[in-house]
């Protein structure tokens, strides 16, 4: 399986990248871990690959006042081993599930967002945390919330001439706890169903805000405010009836050979209850240690 011929360019600056993308015949090449298989299977035949890895402005990850900002050329494995990324615990929880080590050494965080596979982990983390995606294009720069960035299966708010410049994940605050779980056929495969949770507690320890994102269950990550679910109780057991009902509404994938809709609903319901309750426990721990 060989890619059809394409031209290749590796610009030095962001402006040059945008100039190469102008016209719409170019395709961004970041880590290539999703794009190259597409080319190899001749599912796509872009005229030019615009390699963004030589642009210094895209090559670093930094902690800023509004969170952890990851440039478009920063690889997943670099973030995985970056002590500064601990500011966002969910990154550390989700990253081992993004493909395999050998893929994370090339794949980028922004590339995963831009590719927007419905079963991918990082777009779900970005949605649950309300991360901000920075775009640059012919119309200038703009910032889009992750939940609005992903518009469907492998579809995003970025147009063919746009570049995802960075994504900023909000840093964890005191009294915030997280949960992450997925079920895949084999470690490193895309999830059959997965959930990401963020639970906030007030000074008294009561839940003030809870958010849940499901992935692998629809054409895009599905995010819900689930604060009200805790009204029935706090344990996994207490939460189960409500998460089962939520699964009926949220899981709308048609199912495939690896799992029917019903199976995925059940997975989602169980994982959601477990990770919400785990998120709450951690939120209380963090409130105490903070």
């Amino acid at each position: 399986m060989k890619a059809a011929p394409f031209a290749y360019v590796r610009p030095a600056t962001l402006d040059d990248v945008l100039a190469e993308l102008a016209g719409g015949d170019g395709k961004v090449l970041a880590g290539g871990q999703s794009l190259v298989p597409v080319l190899a299977m001749r599912l796509g035949r872009p005229g030019t690959l615009v390699d963004i890895t030589a642009v210094p402005a895209l090559a670093s990850a930094t902690v800023e006042k509004d969170g952890y900002r990851v440039g478009a050329a920063v690889r997943q494995r670099a973030v995985e081993h970056d002590p500064a990324a601990r500011a966002v615990p969910l990154i550390g929880m989700a990253m081992p599930f993004v493909g395999h080590r050998e893929l994370r050494s090339r794949g980028t965080v922004c590339g995963s967002l831009a590719h927007a596979d419905p079963a991918a982990e990082l777009p779900a983390v970005a949605c649950c945390l309300d991360a901000r995606v920075e775009l640059a294009g012919p119309a200038g720069r703009r910032t889009v919330p992750a939940t609005e960035f992903v518009t469907g299966a492998m579809s995003t708010a970025a147009g063919p001439e746009d570049l995802v410049v960075s994504v900023t994940f909000p840093a964890a605050a005191a009294g915030e706890g997280y949960g992450f779980a997925e079920i895949a056929r084999r470690h490193g495969d895309f999830a059959l169903a997965g959930v990401v949770t963020r639970v906030r507690v007030g000074p008294g320890g009561a839940v003030t805000d809870a958010r849940l994102t499901g992935f692998g269950v629809s054409d895009r990550p599905v995010t819900r405010d689930v604060t009200g679910l805790f009204d029935a109780g706090e344990t996994e057991h207490d939460l189960r009836p409500a998460t089962a009902a939520l699964a009926e509404e949220v899981v709308d994938t048609g199912g495939d050979t690896h799992g029917s809709t019903g199976y995925r609903r059940r997975l989602f319901g169980v994982l959601a209850a477990r990770e919400l309750s785990r998120g709450l426990r951690r939120a209380r721990d963090r409130r105490e240690t903070a």
């Binding site: 399986m1 060989k2 890619a3 059809a4 011929p5 394409f6 031209a7 290749y8 360019v9 590796r10 610009p11 030095a12 090449l29 290539g32 871990q33 190259v36 298989p37 080319l39 190899a40 299977m41 005229g47 030019t48 690959l49 390699d51 890895t53 030589a54 210094p56 090559a59 670093s60 990850a61 930094t62 902690v63 800023e64 006042k65 050329a73 920063v74 690889r75 494995r77 670099a78 973030v79 081993h81 970056d82 002590p83 500064a84 493909g99 395999h100 080590r101 050998e102 893929l103 050494s105 090339r106 084999r186 470690h187 490193g188």
Partner: protein, 416 residues
């Protein structure tokens, strides 16, 4: 704003590159197993193909070519990566280690020894990928536990399910080296046999002719172990001084080599020529350069280096020593020793086959030398004629030669 710690910012990011057109070929310089290598590639050539076809490093296997199976796993800038998901054009300045760099048959890496001790090899197809993935794991996470191994090694698939042995081997090495497994043992300077075009990936040299510019002025021999060592001893009827006359006349000598033709005599005892080999569906036409590096009339010894490249992506280099000694009944014992380095399609025959073909050629060569020594010229197997080597007909060939009364051939093939 806090600048980031090393792992993120110090990852090698390549220098910019001007647009390369789809049908264009560019030169990419990288370090492969400790040696500088420059390859000429079209943008769409992936690294695994380039390693295999242009650099002869066929240890990197290909299964799926879309990132799923892990067969092609190699180290790029200190981290494991899929060579099939990386275009060679992206690798300017990259530091690459393949399974060939991990260890040699004589000096294996601890992982290689452990794979064999724990029966982690069945058919061996996944072995290079497993070795490179586990090497990456033990370099980056020396304290990995046995429980974590199935998950950590899940990036490479073994199709004959040798997993238990493989995991036992990796665990053994992890425990033996708690502070990190030793580095690659076979990285160092050696000449990689490169080629000037994009291999089977479309663009590149037009079929047929190799541009003359692709042939260097001097033959440079690789310093790594040869693909095959061929040693043939033949007893000839002609006396040793007559045989030496043939060996000393490069034009006549070339005509004795089946399928070979001298095209140009250069200064410095250098010769350009062409050799054609046809083997079943394979037809290779090598344009080459030979350079005599030693002529010893007293010892009747001739040594030359030869180099040839085929438009289809095969290359061969050889260090050849021919020595004639007085034999029984006034005849001559002619010994030919050749260290043969093969890359490209021809190397994919496997060593045994490649060595076999080379040996067969030397047997026919010896017969022709005898004929030339006797008559002053060569007929069969034909000057300039294309050599047809039919596999499995060694006995026929020897029988035919014997019938023609050209002497008794004794051949021995050693494999490195």
């Amino acid at each position: 704003m806090t600048a980031l710690s090393d792992p993120v910012s110090s990852r090698t990011h390549p220098a910019p590159r001007e647009r390369v057109a789809a049908d264009e070929t560019v030169e990419i310089a990288m370090t492969v197993n400790g040696t500088e290598a420059t390859v000429a590639v079209p943008p769409r050539a992936h690294l695994a193909d380039v390693l295999r076809e242009q650099l002869g490093l066929t240890g990197t296997h290909l299964g799926c070519e879309h990132g799923v199976c892990g067969m092609c796993t190699i180290m790029v800038d200190g981290q494991a990566a899929r060579a099939c998901l990386l275009f060679a054009v992206q690798c300017e300045g990259a530091d690459i280690v393949t399974v060939e760099g991990l260890g040699t048959p004589d000096d294996q890496h601890p992982l290689q020894r452990a794979f064999s001790a724990h029966h982690g090899l069945q058919c061996g197809f996944c072995t290079p990928g497993m070795l490179m993935s586990s090497y990456d794991l033990l370099r980056s996470t020396p304290d990995v536990t046995a429980e974590e191994l199935p998950e950590q090694m899940s990036g490479v698939l073994c199709r004959c399910t040798g997993y238990r042995g493989i995991l036992a081997a990796v665990d053994d090495v992890a425990q033996t080296y708690p502070d990190g497994v030793p580095g690659p043992k076979a990285c160092g300077h050696r000449t990689l046999v490169g080629r000037g075009s994009g291999g089977g990936s479309g663009a590149g040299a037009p079929a047929g002719e190799i541009p003359a510019a692709a042939l260097p002025e001097q033959v440079e021999l690789p310093s790594g172990p040869p693909s095959a060592v061929v040693e043939v001893t033949s007893t000839l009827r002609s006396p040793v001084d007559r045989v030496w006359t043939v060996l000393n006349d490069f034009d006549l000598l070339a005509r004795c080599l089946p399928g070979a033709r001298l095209t140009e005599v250069l200064d410095g005892d250098r010769y350009r020529g062409r050799a054609t080999v046809a083997l079943g569906p394979v037809k290779l036409s090598f344009d080459g350069l030979a350079q005599v590096v030693e002529r010893d009339p007293a010892a009747h010894r001739l040594r030359f280096h030869a180099q040839g490249a085929d438009a289809g992506g095969s290359a061969t280099r050889a260090d050849v020593v021919l020595a004639a000694e007085s034999g029984p009944d006034g005849g001559t014992v002619l010994t030919a020793h050749a260290d043969v380095h093969l890359t490209g399609r021809v190397a994919q025959f496997g060593r045994a086959l490649a060595g076999d073909v080379s040996r067969r050629m030397f047997e026919q060569f010896a017969a022709s030398v005898d004929e030339a020594a006797e008559t002053g010229s060569v007929t069969a197997p034909g000057r300039g004629a294309q050599l047809r080597l039919l596999l499995g007909t060694a006995r026929d060939t020897v029988g035919a030669l014997a019938r023609r009364g050209l002497g008794r051939l004794r051949a021995r093939l050693r494999r490195p």
